[in-house]
C-alpha cells in the first residue's frame, strides 16, 4: 500500500514536472496562431493614446518596401521604365530614358496641341514617330516635332517640342500678350519671341530686330 502511495506520488510529481516543462515552452496566452492580437472589441475599448503608443512601437519595426499592386492610377513619381503606344501603328515601345516625358508630358502635349489647333488657323501636326521603335526603327533621337504647313504650301518643322512650347503658341494664336506658365503665374510672350520664331519658322527681319 505504501509502495502504491509512493508510486502515485512519483507519478503525480512527474505529471507536475512535465506540465511545468510544457508551460515553459508553450506560447503565452493570447499568442497562439488562432488568437487574434487585435480585435474590434479591443480597438473599441482603447483610448487614442493607447493606439498611438502601439503605432509608435510598430514604427520601430522595419517596413517592407512598397510594392506596386494593381492600382487604378499611374504611379506618382517618374517610373523607371515608360511605355509608349504609337497612335499610328499601335505598337508599344519600352523606354528606360526620358521616362517622365513619355509617361507624363507626352499626354499633356497631345492635349495642349488639341487645344491649340482649335484656335490657330495654321495647318499643324504633331509628329511622334521618332518615339515608336516600329515606325522609326533607326531613330537615334526621340523628340516631338511640330510640323506646320503654311497657306503658300511651304512647310516648317520644329523639334524638341515640350508642353510649354504648345502653351505659348496657344496664347500667341489667341492674340494674348502673356501666357500662363505650367506652374502658377503668367509670363510675357514678348520674352519668348526667339522660341516662337523657332517654332513657327519665321525668321527675324533685320530692320525690326534692330535695337
Amino acid at each position: 500500500m505504501q509502495t502504491v502511495g509512493i508510486l502515485i506520488l512519483i507519478f503525480a510529481a512527474c505529471l507536475i514536472a512535465f506540465s511545468v516543462q510544457g508551460c515553459r515552452y508553450s506560447k503565452p496566452a493570447g499568442n497562439s496562431n488562432t488568437d487574434p492580437v487585435v480585435t474590434v472589441q479591443q480597438v473599441d475599448s482603447m483610448s487614442r493614446a493607447q493606439i498611438e503608443r502601439m503605432l509608435q512601437t510598430l514604427q520601430q519595426q522595419k517596413a517592407p518596401k512598397p510594392t506596386m499592386g494593381a492600382m487604378c492610377y499611374d504611379m506618382a513619381g517618374p517610373p523607371p521604365t515608360a511605355d509608349y503606344v504609337c497612335p499610328v501603328c499601335g505598337q508599344k515601345t519600352v523606354y528606360s530614358t526620358d521616362t517622365s516625358f513619355i509617361a507624363w508630358e507626352l499626354d499633356g502635349c497631345r492635349r495642349e496641341f488639341e487645344q491649340m489647333t482649335k484656335i490657330g488657323d495654321l495647318k499643324m501636326a504633331l509628329d511622334e514617330s521618332s518615339f515608336c521603335a516600329q515606325c522609326s526603327l533607326n531613330a537615334t533621337r526621340h523628340e516631338l516635332v511640330l510640323n506646320i504647313t503654311y497657306s503658300d504650301g511651304t512647310t516648317h518643322s520644329a523639334g524638341g517640342i515640350h508642353r510649354s512650347d504648345l502653351r505659348m503658341l496657344t496664347y500667341f494664336f489667341k492674340g494674348s500678350l502673356s501666357f500662363k506658365g505650367l506652374q502658377d503665374g503668367t509670363k510675357p510672350l514678348k520674352d519668348q519671341i526667339p522660341r516662337l520664331r523657332e517654332l513657327l519658322g519665321v525668321e527675324a527681319s533685320a530692320a525690326k530686330d534692330k535695337p
Binding site: 496562431n33 488562432t34 510598430l58 519595426q61 517592407p64 492600382m71 487604378c72 499611374d74 508599344k92 492635349r111
Partner: protein
C-alpha cells in the same frame, strides 16, 4: 540592350483577372458592374479552369508580367490555386532599367490576390506563401463592418493578418472609404496595421455596381475626401508604413504634394498600366467599367477598338476642365465612375458633380507642405 525596345505586344503590363461573379459578401459599396442590373452588363458563362489556364499562358506570352486575381471573391472558385499554380510556373520577360539601360530577365509573373478575407484560412495563406502571391484583404471599417459587408465581424480578417505576418508574409489591407466609415478610418487602418498588415490600399467610394443604389449614403464630398487622405497619411506616419490610394483623384481636390506616406495619383491608368479580364473572358479597360470589349480569345483586336483606344490615348477629359492649369497633368478623376454616373467618359468625376472643378470655379485647398 539599349534605352528602348519594341515590346512583345501592346498590352499593359498588369492583367486583373476577375475569376468569378460570385461573392460571399454583399457589400454596399461593391462596384462590380454585374451587381447593377441597370448597367447593361450582361453576365455570360464563366471561363473554365482550362480556359483560364490558356488565357494566362496567352497573356504571359504577350508580355503581361503581373497578374491580379480578384472577382467577385476569387477564393470561391475551387480551382483557384490550380490556376494560380499554373500562373506561378509561367515564364515572362521582366524588363527593368539598370543604370539607364533596359535589361531583362525571365521569371514567373508577379502574382496578387485580392480577397474579402472571409474564406481565407491557414491553408489559403500557406498556398499564397508557396506561390509567392501577395494577399490583399478588405477591411471597410470595424464598427461599420457588418453594415457595409453583411458579415458580422471583422475579427476574422484581423486574425488572418496576424497569422499571415507570423508566417512571414507581407499583406495589404484594402479599405474602401465611405461616408459611413470615414469617422473610424484611423481606427480601421490602425487595427489592420497592428494586426499585421504591412501596406494600405485606400479606395474612396465611387458609385458603380451595387454601390449605385447606395450612392447617396456612401458618397464622400470634397472635404471628406481630403479628410480621408489626411487621416490615412497621419496613421501611416505614426505606424511608419506606406500606402496608396487605389483610384485617381482630381488634382483640384487634393494637394498631393503634402502626402509623403500615401501615394496619391491624379491620372487614370486604365488600358495603360493595367486592364481587366472579366469572369467570362471579356476584356474591360478597368474594374469599374461596365463596357465589355473583345473576348480575350480575340485580344489582338483590341488594338483597333475605339473604346479601348479612348483610354490608351486619354481622349476623355471633361470640357469644363480645359481652362484648368492642370488640364494636361490630371485626368479629372475616375473616368469610368464619371461614365457610370453621367453616361459619358468625358463627364465630371462624381465628387465634382456638385462642386464643379475647383481649378475653374473655386479657390484651391491651401498647401501646407513644401513643394
Amino acid at each position: 540592350m539599349s534605352d528602348r525596345r519594341l515590346a512583345v505586344s501592346f498590352l499593359p503590363g498588369t492583367a486583373v483577372l476577375e475569376m468569378t461573379y460570385a461573392c460571399n459578401h454583399k457589400c454596399l459599396f461593391c462596384s462590380c458592374p454585374w451587381e447593377n442590373p441597370d448597367s447593361g452588363f450582361v453576365r455570360q458563362a464563366e471561363l473554365t479552369t482550362d480556359e483560364w489556364i490558356e488565357t494566362i499562358s496567352t497573356l504571359c506570352r504577350m508580355g503581361v508580367t503581373r497578374l491580379a486575381f480578384t472577382g467577385g471573391e476569387p477564393l470561391l472558385r475551387p480551382d483557384i490555386f490550380e490556376i494560380i499554380h499554373h500562373a506561378a510556373h509561367c515564364s515572362v520577360e521582366h524588363i527593368e532599367t539598370v543604370k539607364g539601360r533596359l535589361e531583362s530577365h525571365q521569371g514567373p509573373p508577379l502574382l496578387y490576390l485580392l480577397s474579402n478575407g472571409t474564406a481565407v484560412n491557414e491553408t489559403i495563406l500557406l498556398a499564397c506563401k508557396e506561390y509567392d502571391v501577395q494577399l490583399s484583404m478588405s477591411l471597410p471599417g470595424l464598427r461599420t463592418y457588418a453594415r457595409h459587408t453583411g458579415v458580422e465581424s471583422a475579427d476574422h480578417i484581423l486574425r488572418m493578418f496576424t497569422l499571415a505576418k507570423s508566417m512571414g508574409m507581407v499583406t495589404v489591407v484594402n479599405s474602401t472609404v465611405t461616408r459611413i466609415n470615414l469617422f473610424e478610418l484611423a481606427d480601421t487602418l490602425s487595427a489592420a496595421l497592428l494586426a499585421g498588415a504591412e501596406q494600405v490600399l485606400l479606395n474612396r467610394f465611387l458609385p458603380g455596381g451595387r454601390g449605385m443604389f447606395h450612392a447617396d449614403e456612401l458618397s464622400l464630398d470634397i472635404p471628406q475626401i481630403q479628410q480621408m487622405l489626411d487621416t490615412a497619411e497621419a496613421t501611416l506616419e505614426k505606424a511608419g508604413r506606406f500606402g496608396s490610394v487605389g483610384t485617381e483623384i482630381p488634382k483640384c481636390i487634393a494637394d498631393i504634394s503634402r502626402y509623403k506616406r500615401l501615394q496619391v495619383g491624379t491620372r487614370c491608368s486604365a488600358a495603360i498600366q493595367y486592364f481587366v479580364v472579366g469572369p467570362s473572358g471579356r476584356v474591360r479597360v478597368c474594374n469599374h467599367s461596365p463596357v465589355q470589349l473583345n473576348h480575350v480569345r480575340e485580344i489582338e483586336s483590341l488594338q483597333s477598338n475605339e473604346y479601348w483606344n479612348r483610354f490608351v490615348f486619354k481622349k476623355y477629359m471633361p470640357s469644363v476642365c480645359s481652362d484648368c492649369r492642370d488640364f494636361t497633368a490630371c485626368d479629372g478623376g475616375c473616368r469610368e465612375a464619371a461614365h457610370v454616373v453621367t453616361g459619358s467618359t468625358c463627364g465630371l468625376d462624381p465628387a465634382l458633380l456638385q462642386a464643379g472643378p475647383l481649378g475653374v470655379l473655386h479657390d484651391r485647398p491651401s498647401s501646407t507642405a513644401a513643394s
